[in-house]
């Protein structure tokens, strides 16, 4: 999934992504992924947290960020399973990084494409992405009709398997 998420950081220079996972027994480093190569700032990092099915409280997130955001972190992202968790994540990020955090739904039915939420034109964009799908079986057509209805009713959060909230560290608080 990071393969798709990292496009959000295009334009930033980073040498490594540190991706943490949140479970019942705490937050642990899951993996480190190398970023771009020569010519970029190799010490700059992306900090990621896959909150999973846990409920990341704002305090827990703030604690995590306090321990891990330093001057070398270029951008931050958090993935959550539930649309209701987005608010807490944005609040926590907002304590460290001013500016607009971007929120995307991750669509499992279209190779984990990212769909921007919390923006003007959200419905139109969601319908456009929905319209790209190429399964025309009877079952898929019913599913598509239901999804269109969810979009029209402003409850399209159910379309997404996960959500990602991302922000860069430009203009961070000291």
């Amino acid at each position: 999934m990071f393969d798709n998420i990292k496009i959000l950081f295009f334009g930033l220079e980073w040498g490594r992504a540190d991706i943490y996972g949140m479970g019942e027994d705490g937050i642990r480093l899951l993996k480190q992924i190398s970023g771009a190569d020569a010519g970029t700032d190799a010490s700059a990092r992306i900090l990621g947290l896959e909150a999973g099915c846990g409920s990341p409280s704002k305090d827990r997130l703030v604690d995590f960020f306090m321990k891990n955001i330093d001057e070398k972190v270029a951008a931050v992202y958090v993935t959550v399973d539930n649309e209701r968790q987005i608010g807490a994540v944005k609040d926590a990020i907002g304590q460290f990084l001013p500016g607009e955090a971007e929120v995307y739904g991750i669509d499992p039915d279209y190779f984990f494409s990212l769909v921007p939420l919390e923006c003007t034109g959200r419905k139109a964009i969601e319908k456009y992405i929905l319209g790209l799908k190429m399964d025309f079986s009877a079952r898929a057509r019913v599913k598509q009709a239901v999804k269109n209805l969810l979009i029209d009713m402003n409850i399209s959060g159910r379309l997404y398997e996960k959500f990602v909230i991302a922000a860069d560290c430009k203009g961070r608080r000291g």
Binding site: N4, I7, G11, D37, F111, T120, Y128, M134, F136
Partner: protein, 332 residues
């Protein structure tokens, strides 16, 4: 972040002043690591992307984007074709990722329309228009600096080995060699799209006209054989057959379309003859063209990425079926 990158560099990337609102939707069109990330760029609340960014996932596949951009630049210089081509704006490299920006092409792809509507009159008209457009593409004299020359003809270097691996008999390999020889002596006069199938052809349902063609990664100039028409027809069979049999495989659709007698053969034959006549080709070249097109498609991914992917194997099966059932070929 990507949005900030666009807003900060918009003038350089597109030549336009930055939009008031810009939203991005990064999508993947396939799971393979040699695929691209495609970013749909929606500006000022529009319902369809005004611009599209393509980014190579790996340096290995960067050449495809470079080739595609060169192709878009070349075709944009052809006045007859330029309305059908996404406007090429900018090619660049950032942190070892090759990317380019092109204009968005609104509409619905032809595959979707065929699956939805079948071969009703408006869809037949779009199919006919696709053939006319293909003729324009294949005959273009647009300048081709920076583009792949001869495209898949280079891929044939590994063909014999791949045929042996697939279980082809010596006389079958010889048959394919004969088909190649038919075109080997011809002028390299065809500009190929390289992936001319219905999902890459955008149509406007409201006007009933073709809007344009996308995905020019496999385009090439100076080809001796006009393989695009075969790509179009074989995938047309898949588009049509899958309407009543959604689980049908590409091979099953191909057998139905080309080897089972029915009204559909008449359509395919008619389209083939329309193309051949306008291209100045003898219809007797159809079978060898079919064989070498499938042969090229069976090694395309090996040639491009150094390893086979699913479509190579499928096209090899189609090729062997064609060689082994020549007498049953219904499209002439």
């Amino acid at each position: 972040m990507l949005r900030d990158f666009f807003l900060s560099n918009w003038k350089e990337l597109t030549g336009d002043k930055p939009p008031e609102d810009l939203r991005i939707a990064p999508i993947s069109s396939c799971a393979a690591d040699y695929g691209n990330i495609i970013v749909m760029i929606f500006i000022n609340g529009s319902a369809s992307p005004g611009y599209v960014m393509k980014v190579s996932r790996t340096p290995l596949a960067a050449f495809k984007l470079e080739n595609e951009f060169s192709s878009l630049k070349a075709l944009s210089a052809d006045r007859g074709l330029s309305p059908y081509i996404p406007t090429p704006y900018h090619l660049g490299v950032r942190s070892a990722n090759t990317f380019f920006i092109q204009g968005g092409l609104p509409g619905t792809n032809l595959f979707r329309l065929i699956r939805k509507n079948g071969l009703d009159k408006p869809t037949r008209a779009l199919i006919d228009e696709s053939i006319d457009l293909l003729l324009m593409i294949n005959k273009t004299r647009a300048p081709v600096a920076g583009m792949e020359k001869n495209g898949l003809e280079d891929a044939f270097a590994s063909l014999e080995k791949e045929l042996l691996n697939a279980g082809a008999a010596p006389d079958e390999i010889e048959e394919i060699g004969s088909s190649r020889a038919v075109f080997a002596g011809m002028d390299g006069r065809f500009f190929l799209h390289g992936d001319y199938w219905q999902t890459n052809i955008m149509a406007d349902e409201r006007t009933g006209r073709i809007r344009g063609v996308i995905d020019w990664e496999f385009s090439s100039a100076s080809a001796r054989a006009p393989t695009d028409i075969i790509h179009f027809l074989t995938n047309l069979a898949y588009s049509i057959y899958g309407r009543t049999k959604p689980d049908a495989t590409v091979l099953e659709s191909y057998r139905w379309g080309f080897f089972e007698k029915g009204a559909h053969n008449v359509i395919f034959s008619s389209l083939m003859k329309r193309y051949f006549s306008a291209a100045g080709l003898d219809t007797g070249l159809f079978r060898p063209l079919l064989e070498i097109s499938l042969a090229g498609m069976s090694v395309r991914e090996l040639w491009a990425y150094g390893r086979h992917a699913k479509m190579d194997g499928i096209c090899m099966e189609m090729l062997l079926h064609t060689i082994r059932n020549r007498e049953a070929l219904c499209v002439i």
